[in-house]
């Protein structure tokens, strides 16, 4: 079990690039972009929102095993980290959650804009509805590129 600090929570929810990795029974990896992540009040779980269109393969993988990895990276400075965990529940995202998810994803598109990719170009990336995955965090790793990437946090 790993605990997410307040500072890390702020980073994870700040509107950065988030990708989720799963794998099937044959250890073939799969992945997709995550629209937003919210850290639970216990700081030991997160909820990741992925587009429903990319869910079938994800769901098949999670039905086989619950292992996931979440990679976070901020385009403007490449601060990056990775969460390893297990998916403990999944459900359709609620319409009441849409605003928060859209707001966070908009923050990420703003980051891309800051590095030269205008929003008009990424307009096709926003999709709703989403599937919400509740993930228990087992490990946290530094992943900022360069020497030391991959070291465990804390």
């Amino acid at each position: 079990m790993a605990v997410i600090s307040d500072e890390l929570k702020h980073f994870l929810e700040s509107g950065v690039s988030i990708n989720i990795a799963t794998r099937d029974a044959g250890l073939a990896p799969h992945g997709t972009r995550v629209r937003a992540v919210l850290v639970d009040a216990d700081h030991e779980h997160v909820t990741a929102y992925v587009n429903k269109g990319s869910a079938p393969r994800l769901v098949a993988d999670l039905d086989d095993n619950s292992r996931v990895a979440l990679a976070f990276s901020r385009p403007t400075d490449h601060r990056s980290c990775q969460i390893k965990g297990v998916c403990v529940a999944r459900r359709p995202a609620r319409s009441s959650e849409k605003e928060a998810v859209l707001g966070q994803f908009g923050g990420f598109l703003g980051e891309l804009e800051a590095v030269g990719i205008p929003r008009v170009m990424t307009a096709g990336w926003w999709r709703w509805p989403c599937v919400a995955l509740r993930i228990r965090v087992t490990d946290l790793f530094h992943q900022t590129p360069g020497p030391g990437a991959g070291e465990k946090m804390g």
């Binding site: 990775q82 990719i117 590129p145």
Partner: protein, 465 residues
């Protein structure tokens, strides 16, 4: 494979970072951003291996991988299912990938730390559009990332014909360089371009002509291997960077980590010629018979401004331009000899500086550094500085104003090489630096192989060791 890999060429430009998904042998998935994905052939891609990390460890245990790449024209995401085949640490593919990474490293002052360890070759099992990250339709694109008009084959051919005509029409080196840079703007829309010549004496490149900059930048220098231009000269290969800001941010992130571990103690970034914050750069070596004649660099504040096709036709232009530069220099030398044989031309009247109330400048030559300062400000160095000092001294001693290229070539103190002395280009450089920094002293061409010194101010000459 449902989508031909070759049709994804634009996805391998490095503008949007790719994402690499792997899995360890005990079933733990991993995801990481990837610096470079390159097209190898219709069934293979190469991924950059820069650091020993979890992805690399996983691949050693389990060769299956998934990579997501983005088309910078449409932002459509594609998923490539991969199987690791081998790693290359030498050969053309490795060298091509390494050069691009070295160029970014050099631009960031990170040579030696930010480098390619291997090009990992993967077989592509399948290619599919990612449903969750759909792209825009390319025909509707009008934004700054839209393809350049240079991608139109017929247009490009006509533009190259026009450029070729201009090269043929140029009567001297100065006109040749200026007309090519102007044509790159008017025909291709490349608004920021410069040509740098190698200086054998200093081992550096010096800007001799530029277009589209607030200050013309003539005389600005870069060392071999420094920045993208310096890397082009050192490797004698073209380099195209699509999203320099993103690449720089990535390199800086590496630098921060490296500094934290004591591997990169200082910021070694050096000021380079050109735009302060270019997003796209394309450098082409101008080679003639294997010799580096010059480097042509075009740049833009727009990401992904230069496409692979742009690199292709600028290489063709570069080869042609290199020969044209050499031919122009040879022709000018030959015509100089003929002019010399005909005897001196008519004296060119030069107005003497008006006495009383005339402007004056202190011109100081530092002999050991072969460098001239005017009123304490740097003007020029190396061979152009020695030439200027020689003619200023002669003017001071004898009032002489007219000089010939030939006498400069014969002057042992200048130590010009017998062959390929690049004297014409050094005189252009000197003339332009004076226009820019000290317009009271002009050097005016006066027919083939001749020029006139026009001082419009009183000059106090001082030589220091």
């Amino acid at each position: 494979m449902t989508i031909p890999l070759a049709s994804l060429a634009s996805c391998f430009q490095g503008l949007i970072p790719a994402t690499l998904y792997t899995c360890s042998k005990d079933g733990v998935p991993n995801v990481a951003l990837l610096s470079h994905v390159d097209y190898v052939d219709s069934n293979h891609v190469a991924l950059s291996f820069q650091f020993f990390n979890k992805s690399r460890k996983n691949i050693a245990e389990n060769p299956q991988a998934l990579v997501r790449v983005y088309d910078p024209d449409t932002m459509q995401c594609y998923e490539l299912e991969l199987r690791y085949v081998r790693s290359e640490t030498a050969g053309p593919l490795f060298e091509s990938m390494a050069l691009r990474i070295e160029a970014i490293a050099s631009h960031s002052g990170l040579r030696g730390i930010f480098k390619l360890l291997a090009a990992d070759i993967y077989e592509v099992i399948s290619v599919a559009k990612a449903a969750d990250e759909a792209g825009l339709h390319a025909p509707h694109l009008a934004g700054p990332l839209a393809p350049s008009r240079g991608t139109d084959a017929l247009f490009t051919l006509r533009a190259l014909q026009e450029l070729s005509d201009r090269i043929h029409r140029a009567g001297d080196l100065e006109t040749l360089l200026d007309s090519v840079l102007e044509a790159l703007d008017s025909l291709f829309g490349f608004g920021h371009a410069m040509i740098l010549l190698p200086d054998e004496a200093t081992g550096r490149l010096v800007t001799i002509a530029s277009h589209g900059y607030p200050e013309n930048g003539v005389g600005s220098e870069v060392g071999l291997g420094e920045g993208i231009i310096g890397m082009v000269a050192e490797a004698r290969k073209p380099i195209r960077i699509a999203g320099l800001l993103r690449e720089m941010l990535y390199a800086h992130a590496v630098a921060e980590r490296a500094r934290g571990q004591g591997l990169c103690p200082e910021d070694r970034r050096i000021p380079l010629p050109g735009l302060a914050s270019p997003e796209s750069q394309l450098g082409i070596p101008l080679l003639a018979q294997g010799d580096l004649v010059a480097v042509l660099c075009v740049e833009s504040r727009t990401p992904y401004r230069f496409h692979e096709e742009d690199k292709g036709y600028l290489e063709v232009l570069g080869n042609y331009l290199a020969i044209a530069i050499q031919n122009t220099q040879l022709r000018e030398r030959s015509e100089e000899a003929e002019a010399e044989a005909r005897g001196p031309s008519l004296p060119v009247p030069v107005a003497p500086p008006a006495a009383g109330g005339a402007r004056s400048h202190e011109v100081t030559y530092y002999a050991s550094e072969e460098c001239i300062l005017v009123d304490g400000e740097y003007l020029i160095r190396s061979l152009p500085a020695k030439i200027l000092w020689k003619i200023l001294r002669e003017h001071e001693e004898s009032g002489r104003t007219e000089f010939t290229n030939r006498e400069l070539r014969l002057d042992k103190s200048l130590n010009l090489p017998d062959f390929k002395d690049n004297l014409e280009s050094r005189l252009i450089l000197l003339r332009r630096r004076l226009d820019q920094r000290c317009p009271d002293v002009r050097i005016v061409p006066a027919g083939r192989g001749r020029f006139v010194l026009e001082p419009k101010a009183l000059l106090a000459l001082t030589e220091k060791p």
